[in-house]
């Protein structure tokens, strides 16, 4: 009996420290796509959200727990983007490595120039993100920083694969640069156009294209619009000659459509994560998709 126990203990010890693939879990497909490209066959990547849902309120399914239980790294957007669902889930997963604040909980926002850091933190200002706007994943300019952060996380988990990971990162960053150059060349028509957004999640996208946001359908982030606010935004839109009304796949199109009709301007449904539309399977495709729908909408004017 003691010999069997001895063998079991040795096997357990060996398996606990055996260097296999890095188990990576990503909160949204954007991060999963980058991790797959940089990690290659050294990483096993599982993504929790499909990309179709609002990333602030991903329906928490119990099947996420066994996945998180085995994770070495949990890639998150950070800046409290996933605060309503992911920290509680990670705390339940019986995996000390990836709980919020621990070494395996990776916030990919490091090095991003963060916008909208609130000066006043108060619930009367709506559903605020105290550390700033977390929707940087739709800004093409943020791709390189995101890729670098994911590379650093993978490297910390498997330093023995440094050369492999660095080569993949470099190759990916080159493809990001190529796409950025192409997007900039195609999108000069978007520069300076006034738009109305639904939620304060367009800032990085608008920064890249030079689009001017004159207001939002939500009076404050996360607060449903009132009739009074809609009248105000309609009047502002008319005054400033708004060209587009932009919402994303998770927001009900009812109010944007109504507003668009009254302001006589096109509605654009952008994608705010990879997976939001069937044809968007990578982060680079996400950027190309948003560029295309914005330009197509502009042609309708």
């Amino acid at each position: 009996m003691s010999k069997i126990l001895f063998i079991i203990q040795v096997v357990l010890c060996v398996s606990a420290f055996a260097g296999g693939k890095i188990n990576v879990v990503a909160s949204i497909p954007d991060l999963g796509d980058m991790a797959m490209r940089i990690g290659g066959d050294k990483a096993k990547v599982i993504v929790l959200a499909t990309g179709r849902e609002d990333l602030h309120a991903v329906p928490v399914r119990p099947s996420f727990l066994p996945i998180l239980n085995r994770a070495d790294l949990l890639l998150t957007l950070g800046l409290d983007a996933e605060h309503s669902w992911l920290p509680a889930l990670a705390a339940e997963a019986r995996n000390a490595k990836i709980m919020e604040g621990r070494p395996g909980w990776i916030e990919v926002s490091e090095g991003i120039h963060v916008h909208d850091i609130p000066e006043i933190l108060d619930r009367s200002e709506g559903e605020q993100h105290p550390e700033g706007n977390p929707h940087y994943n739709i800004g093409p300019q943020c791709g390189t920083s995101m890729a670098n952060n994911i590379y650093k996380a993978l490297l910390s988990a498997a330093p023995e694969h440094k050369d492999f990971l660095r080569a993949n990162r470099d190759q990916y960053v080159r493809s990001v640069d190529t796409v950025i150059t192409s997007l900039k060349q195609q999108s000069s028509a978007l520069k300076g156009i006034p738009i109305i957004g639904y939620h304060e999640d367009l800032v990085y996208l608008c920064e890249f294209y030079g689009i001017k946001v004159i207001g939002y359908i939500e009076p404050k982030a996360g607060v449903s619009p009132t009739a009074g606010h809609l009248r105000e935004i309609e009047s502002l839109g008319r005054e400033q000659g708004v060209k587009l009304i932009i919402h994303n796949q998770t927001q009900s199109p009812r109010i944007p459509e109504k507003l668009g009709k009254s302001l006589n301007c096109p509605i654009v449904e952008i994608a705010n994560t990879v997976g939001a539309k069937k044809e968007i399977t990578t982060w680079l495709e996400l950027q190309l998709y948003n560029n295309r729908v914005l330009l197509e909408a502009l042609k309708k004017l």
């Binding site: 010890c13 329906p59 399914r61 066994p66 889930l89």
Partner: protein, 429 residues
């Protein structure tokens, strides 16, 4: 041989220490702020006002402050967190939860110890204000005396397979329910054998709150009121609250799993049981005890279309709760131990139509927890308007068809809830 054994022993000890060290990784502080030593604090106000026709005419008790829930929580150290939940009412404060949680023990285990909402059934772990309806499910009130806020230990094991299965084993000091909800009842009148608990409470100025009364900073249950009045309620067995042997405590468990049908639909299943061998003590036969077994099964269907998850979803659930309880049956010339078995079911549906509006309905059909085994029905419908994520208004209509309410009673309740600060219920669906 002896040397071999010695090496094996040392190696065994080394392996165990190594494994435990690998599995318990201390927390590293992620963000530094000037308030880093402060715990997370949240405060929720739960107000209701209702009208019912129990006395024939529609009457209202006015505004009821069901509670102001003050929650504090923070990590104690790298290994555990501590949560305290105090419910403040105009009549005093009640400690509702005070537990330490060790979330990442080796072997996929999690330990919770202290006073907690027991991991039992579908709704027991929910704070009342977080339920989709205003009325607490009546099956808990009937068979457990309210929601089970118990002192004890819960050890949960996440089964290490790719499918979600969680098993919880628990030990509590006793089976005891607590509620701030109550059924409307016709005015009580004196009877020849003594005063009712309500009458005793009224005479001493104790304020009723659900299934208990607040009096001079203390919480009194029915038996406490009778004792205070020097009046014995009856010679029926009483709850075992004194010193007990280990086998007289309550023991139970819960098993939960889920079935996912694509990414829009999932079904949760759960089964729970709780047993106390010496739940009640006989007043007629010294040393005689009576046991109680609560068991239940629950199923919840979720539809959460991913594209509209923020403003549209549906959940439909059913929970079965059964109670087996020993009692003393009086017969001519003596008495003997008997048992009765009672069962009830609570079904509900809740549809979220937009970010602000939700509608739903519920029905509890259950046998009365007494010798008579009469059928009781509590059915209702509700509509919730969420002003924002942090405050809501809810209107609920319900009808009680209880044997002692001859024509049935209709009740309309308006509920207002608001939360400030940090208030989370962990992983709840």
């Amino acid at each position: 041989m002896a040397i071999c054994r010695a090496i094996q022993s040392v190696w065994s000890g080394f392996c165990i220490v190594l494994l435990l060290t690998a599995l318990i990784i201390p927390i590293q502080a992620a963000k530094v702020s000037p308030t880093w030593q402060n715990p997370d604090i949240g405060l929720t106000v739960d107000l209701t006002t209702d009208m019912h026709d129990a006395d024939g005419a529609w009457k209202s008790p006015g505004i009821t402050l069901r509670g102001v829930e003050l929650i504090m929580s923070a990590n104690i150290d790298p290994y555990a967190s501590l949560t305290g939940n105090v419910l403040v009412t105009p009549n005093g404060a009640e400690l509702h939860e005070a537990f330490a949680l060790f979330p990442t023990l080796p072997l996929n285990l999690k330990l919770k110890g202290g006073l907690m909402l027991a991991n039992f059934g579908r709704w027991n772990r929910f704070h009342t204000h977080a339920m989709p309806f205003t009325s607490e499910p009546r099956i808990y009130m009937e068979y457990a005396g309210g929601m089970l806020a118990l002192k004890g230990l819960e050890l949960s094991w996440l089964v290490p397979v790719s499918h979600f299965i969680e098993l919880t084993l628990s030990a509590y000091d006793r089976i005891s329910g607590h509620t701030h909800d109550s059924d409307p009842s016709p005015s009580q009148s004196h009877n020849s054998s003594g005063r009712t608990a309500d009458e005793i409470a009224e005479s001493i100025g104790a304020e009723k709150h659900g299934n208990h009364w607040h009096y001079q900073g203390k919480i009194l249950y029915e038996e406490d009121l009778y004792a205070l009045a020097g009046q014995q309620s009856s010679l029926e067995p009483v709850k075992n609250t004194g010193l007990r042997r280990p086998e007289e405590f309550a023991y139970g468990g819960r098993l939960t799993t889920t079935l996912e049908l694509g990414s829009n639909v999932s079904v949760d299943f759960g089964g729970s049981m709780l047993y106390q061998h010496a739940y009640k003590l006989s007043q007629r036969i010294p040393g005689e005890t009576y046991n109680k077994l609560l068991w239940g099964a629950d199923i919840v269907f979720f539809w959460h279309p991913l594209l509209a998850n923020n403003y549209r979803n549906l959940q439909v659930g059913a929970e079965l709760l059964s109670s087996y309880e020993g009692f003393e049956r009086k017969v001519v010339g003596g008495l003997y131990q008997d048992k009765y078995s009672r069962t009830g079911v609570h079904v509900y549906g809740n549809y979220k139509h937009s970010k602000q509006w939700q509608v739903g309905a519920f029905s509890s059909i259950f046998q009365s927890n007494d010798y008579a085994k009469q059928q009781k029905i509590h059915t209702g419908a509700f509509c919730t308007f969420a002003i924002t994520h942090y405050q809501y208004l809810r209107l609920e209509y319900s009808r009680y068809e209880y044997p002692d309410l001859l024509d049935g009673v209709n009740r309309v309740t308006l509920q207002y809830d608001a939360t400030i600060g940090y208030h989370t219920h962990g992983r709840q669906r």
